[in-house]
């Protein structure tokens, strides 16, 4: 699955000194979009959730090893650990010491019964925004800004409630 990583995964690779099997069989490979403005760890979280929703990942599947993600994306190891911690807190994955990280639960595809209603109210809202003179990019900017604020507050209130194991800043 590691494509473009010179010499890695092609043979057993010489990096088996730690005794780990290097043939990590994860169905997915992460990518990064530096222009998205989304923090790196969150991009990893979202990609796993997305793959779960679309059925690319199923319970029992293995996520790429932290080392492999670090090697292929050249990102800080703590960023990957943070993403995996977040997914573990959400109950979606589980880390098994010495073996790797595995998918625990699945995310149902978005076929909620509420979906139709949500779509209708969104349509009404869009019509209203259009009516008062907002154009497409204006609507996008408004939605993006509100969305960001909403989930930021959401995350913060949840992180606060989950108890903090991080060092506090004086």
């Amino acid at each position: 699955m590691v494509i473009g990583q010179e010499g890695k995964g092609r043979k057993g690779g010489p990096s088996t000194s730690s005794g780990e099997v290097t043939t990590s069989n994860s169905p997915i490979e992460f990518r990064l979009d530096p222009a998205s403005g989304v923090p790196t760890y969150l991009q990893l979280v979202q990609q796993v959730e997305h793959a779960l929703r679309l059925g690319y990942l199923k319970p029992g599947d293995q996520l790429p090893k932290v080392r492999d993600v670090v090697a292929s994306l050249a990102i800080n190891p703590n960023t990957v650990s943070k993403a995996y911690r977040e997914l573990e807190t959400k109950g979606l994955i589980i880390g098994r010491p010495g073996q790797g990280t595995f998918i625990l639960a699945t995310l149902s595809p978005v076929v909620l019964p509420e979906l139709d209603g949500l779509r209708r109210s969104l349509h009404n809202w869009l019509a209203k925004a259009d009516g008062v003179g907002l154009d497409e990019s204006g609507i996008m900017a408004l939605v993006a800004s509100e969305l960001r604020d909403f989930y930021e507050r959401h995350r913060e209130s949840r992180d606060g409630a989950a108890g903090d194991d991080t060092e506090s800043v004086a």
Partner: protein, 300 residues
């Protein structure tokens, strides 16, 4: 353990003060980015830490109270200088041989394995390797010494994008596999956001910012609002203000929980934006880093 600890550290070259009363503590287990304008004292600090220069005043210890340049410090710290120096007429194999004989600890097998992995032929002369391969060879020699701390001075400045990516991938993989702490100086702010989890900003020979990246980002917000009302933020811990005729962006030392005045919006900040703001305001400072072990009384 702190990998580097300094107190009142100064270094003068003639009448020029490269470092001036620099006090700093860097804990182990991080990838630390050292940034600052040219002449801020980055290379000087690195030279002092690896024992290539002696302080003019003040104290500096490495790897938990070892003196720089002492046998323990030399064993535990590997340094790759800016121009990744190699003997151009020696082959990669010869470079391994020389380095093995100049050091008390050298992991020949892992060095050869790493060179094979990145496709550097052992018989090729160092001078015939590409810039990226030369950098990788210098890095391989450094890592084969199994250091606790890897110090890199502007490691990727001269490399093309792929070579840069591969070089940093090797460094970060070593951080996972061997738990090596990394201290690297760089001007490439955009890249540091992905790579570093600890930031030190030097300015005019002093430490301006030091702390874990997550803490720094959580402790700063950009407040956006009308220029006319910037004065209402007068008592806020403002770092830097950018504004047009009407709209102002104010980087301040506040968290998302701190409210904003009526008519202002609060946004999260990225590492590049944060570092730039401090670089433009040499008098502002943010130092949420750890206390030095002497101050804490006991070591962790």
């Amino acid at each position: 353990m702190n990998v580097i600890e300094s107190r009142g550290l100064s270094k003068s070259y003639g009448t020029t003060k490269a470092l001036d009363d620099c006090t700093l503590a860097i804990p182990e287990g991080h990838v630390v980015a050292l940034v600052g304008p040219n002449g801020a004292g980055k290379s000087t600090l690195l030279s002092l830490a690896v024992g290539l220069a002696a302080p003019s005043a003040g104290a500096l210890t490495v790897l938990d109270s070892e003196a720089p340049g002492s046998p323990a410090a030399l064993d535990g710290i590997a340094f790759v200088a800016q121009d990744t120096p190699l003997y151009k007429n020696l082959s990669a194999a010869d470079m391994l041989h020389v380095t093995r004989n100049l050091n008390r600890r050298f992991d020949q097998a892992s060095a050869e394995a790493r060179l094979a992995e990145i496709g550097i032929p052992l018989k090729r002369k160092a001078g015939k390797l590409s810039g990226g391969q030369q950098a990788q060879l210098a890095l391989t020699l450094a890592l084969a010494r199994r250091p606790q701390l890897l110090v890199l001075d502007e490691p990727v400045a001269m490399l093309d994008p792929i070579a840069r990516h591969d070089f940093m991938a090797t460094v970060l993989t070593a951080a996972v596999d061997e738990g090596v702490s990394v201290l690297l100086s760089s001007h490439v702010l955009a890249e540091l956001e992905r790579v570093a989890d600890y930031l030190v900003v030097l300015s005019r020979g002093r430490v301006q910012v030091a702390g874990e990246v997550d803490d720094l980002l959580a402790g700063h917000r950009v407040l956006t609002g009308p220029v006319a009302q910037v004065a209402t933020l007068a008592h806020w811990p403002v770092v830097h203000v950018r504004h047009g005729e009407v709209l102002a962006h104010v980087l301040a030392r506040v968290t998302a929980d701190d409210g904003v005045p009526q008519g202002w919006e609060s946004h999260p900040v990225g590492l590049e934006e944060l570092a730039l703001a401090y670089l433009r305001e040499p008098d502002a400072a943010a130092l949420p880093g750890p206390v030095r072990s002497q101050d804490a009384g006991a070591r962790r």
